[in-house]
């Protein structure tokens, strides 16, 4: 097996309370591997230990125990950070510097000098589409543009591993799309991505694998492509809004029935196949206008909620799932 680019072995970090001097665990025995070239999503609710883990990797805080390996070598000295890029959750910059000066400063910290530095700064400015704002003061930029500066400083050294801590935090939809596209471009170019985010749809778009943290511990780690196999599927019955919903609900077991209105349609979502079938039959009997009946993969959001809330019976539904179902058009 090839050596993973990043490997955490039983990583733990505790903080000491200033008042009681008690040790408060923030991260407990986290072990994971990130292979070169993959995009890895690191998920968890606020306070789950994601940022602490990332800060341990980057060396901003000191781990209590465990090991962090980069290319199989313990990540200890500052020189190993040459191959890392880091975008903090809220990147802060010097008020007195322009965009160009900021990037020159960070390039110099990576050892770039002279013409090399100018060339690299120009390249990165073009990559993040900030070429026309190079002379602007960073503080005068919008949050979205500042995030692009943040990303620019993180990739100035052409990192092998790019650590992104909530890269979409505080961005408007347009800013989010811009940053997401930049990350996707970097990924295509072969940069390994390790990102934490609460925007699960973006994680789903960008990442190959995800790990979910809760209360400082790693709860699960899986390939997104394997999610239907691991976590089962759900079923959606879409009816025309004029359909007699109450009649269907009377006949089918609808204890956990979720329904949402989408324009002229009502979408009923079922966690298990038997209930979905009962509802479908009831809809037929009631003369409802059925638009579609289909299997849908569990969204990352469903999986995340289930895991972080400790619902262990997640896979029960999958026991009754028929083999690889596809959308069944009924009318």
């Amino acid at each position: 097996m090839a050596t993973p680019l990043l490997e955490l072995h039983d990583l733990s970090k505790s903080f000491r309370s200033h008042w009681t001097f008690r040790s408060i665990p923030a991260v407990q025995n986290v072990s994971l591997r990130v292979e070169a070239g993959e995009a890895f999503g690191f998920l968890g609710h606020n306070g789950a230990g994601k940022t602490t883990t990332i800060k341990c990797i980057i060396g901003l805080i000191h781990k209590t125990s465990g090991a962090i390996l980069l290319n199989g070598t313990p990540l200890t000295g500052s020189s190993q950070r040459r191959s890392l890029g880091y975008l903090p959750e809220h990147p802060y910059f010097y008020d007195h510097l322009t965009v160009e000066e900021t990037l020159h400063f960070f390039a110099a910290l990576h050892g770039f000098s002279g013409a090399d530095r100018r060339r690299r700064v120009d390249e990165v400015l073009e990559m993040v589409h900030l070429g026309n704002r190079r002379k602007s003061s960073v503080r005068a930029l919008s949050k979205g543009l500042q995030q692009r500066v943040g990303l620019a400083q993180a990739i100035i050294n052409r990192p092998k591993l790019l650590l992104l801590d909530e890269p979409f935090s505080g961005l408007d939809p347009l800013g989010r799309i811009e940053v997401r596209n930049l990350v996707l471009t970097l990924r295509k170019e072969g940069t390994t991505i390790f990102m934490s985010s609460h925007i699960l749809s973006d994680v789903q778009d960008i990442c190959d694998r995800v790990a979910i943290m809760a209360r400082g511990r790693l709860q699960t780690e899986f390939k997104l492509a394997d999610a239907p196999k691991l976590f089962g599927e759900a079923y959606e019955l879409t009816l025309h809004s004029e359909s007699p919903l109450s009649a269907i609900c009377e006949q089918a077991d609808t204890v956990n029935l979720q329904h949402t209105a989408r324009g002229e349609a009502i979408v009923l979502r079922f966690e298990d196949y038997r209930t979905a079938q009962e509802a479908l039959a009831a809809a037929h009997q009631a003369g409802a206008r059925i638009v579609s009946f289909k299997t849908v993969g569990r969204s990352l959001e469903d999986i995340f909620v289930a895991i972080t809330q400790g619902e262990a019976a997640m896979s029960n539904a999958s026991q009754q799932v028929p083999a690889a179902t596809s959308e069944v058009e009924l009318r």
């Binding site: 901003l60 190993q80 400063f105 910290l109």
Partner: protein, 257 residues
């Protein structure tokens, strides 16, 4: 390269900080006042101008150092700009050294500029350039170099800017006074031995800033001896290195949450 990048950035930040200019303006006004006192005093106009001018240089040099120095690390921590720096291949000691050099460069340049103004002013009265004043400016620069290291040491040790400022200012006042205390202990024999011991410890720990106070000699037309200058330079460099090493050790252990 990394240290010089941090140094230049610190220098640039200070130069673009408008608050600093108000302090410099105030210092220029004070040098002007010294000129006024010199002009109205009888017989020794130039002496008063030089004495008051050199005092102003030293005092404002140290004030600017303390004002800029105490917030140097705290500002980086508070504004979280340090995250972007220390996530690069930069050691924490390099960050501390770069900050110190940047602060020293800034204050030295300001002291130098104010000093040139003072020399010009004295030349206006005396009709010649008093080269001895360059020695005075040089010793002020040594003093601010040392005080910058002290400010950074306290900045790494204490969390709040106010406390850092109080400790640094206290060290400056004590460092200026320690030679007098030493003199009293050596001259008198009725002192409490415990007090004498305490002053002995303070004498050893605190910076002896009297080494850099050469105004009296210069104003009287004398020159600082080569031995004294060499000793003062060695003392400044050694004391600063010790303070910065301690700062780096403390800062190395700091968690950047």
């Amino acid at each position: 390269m990394k240290v010089s990048a941090i140094m230049i950035n610190t220098f640039r930040e200070a130069v673009r900080n408008k608050i600093l200019y108000s302090v410099v303006l105030f210092a220029v006004v004070l040098v002007g006042i010294s000129a006024f006192f010199g002009a109205v005093s009888i017989g020794s106009q130039e002496k008063v101008i030089k004495d008051f001018g050199l005092f102003s240089l030293s005092f404002f040099g140290v004030i600017i150092t303390i004002l800029s120095g105490v917030s140097l690390l705290n500002k980086e921590l508070k504004q979280k700009t340090i995250y972007n720096i220390l996530s690069k291949p930069v050691d924490r000691w390099q960050f501390i050294l770069g900050k110190h050099l940047g602060l020293t460069l800034t204050v030295s340049l300001l002291v130098g500029l104010m000093g040139v103004g003072l020399i010009g002013f004295v030349a206006f009265f005396e009709g010649r350039i008093d080269l001895l004043l360059f020695q005075g400016i040089f010793f002020v620069i040594l003093e601010v170099t040392l005080m910058a290291a002290v400010a950074i040491f306290f900045s790494s040790l204490v969390v709040t800017t106010t406390l850092t400022g109080i400790f640094t200012l206290g060290t400056y006042v004590a460092g200026r006074s320690i030679a007098y205390l030493r003199y009293f202990i050596e001259a008198g024999d009725g002192y409490n031995p415990a007090l004498a011991k305490l002053i002995g410890i303070l004498d050893w720990v605190l910076p002896d800033l009297s080494l850099f106070n050469v105004h009296d000699v210069l104003v009287d037309g004398g020159s600082v001896t080569g031995n004294h200058a060499a000793y003062a330079i060695c003392y400044c460099v050694s004391y600063s290195l010790v303070a910065l090493t301690l700062a780096a050790i403390i800062f190395e252990r700091r968690e950047l949450n």
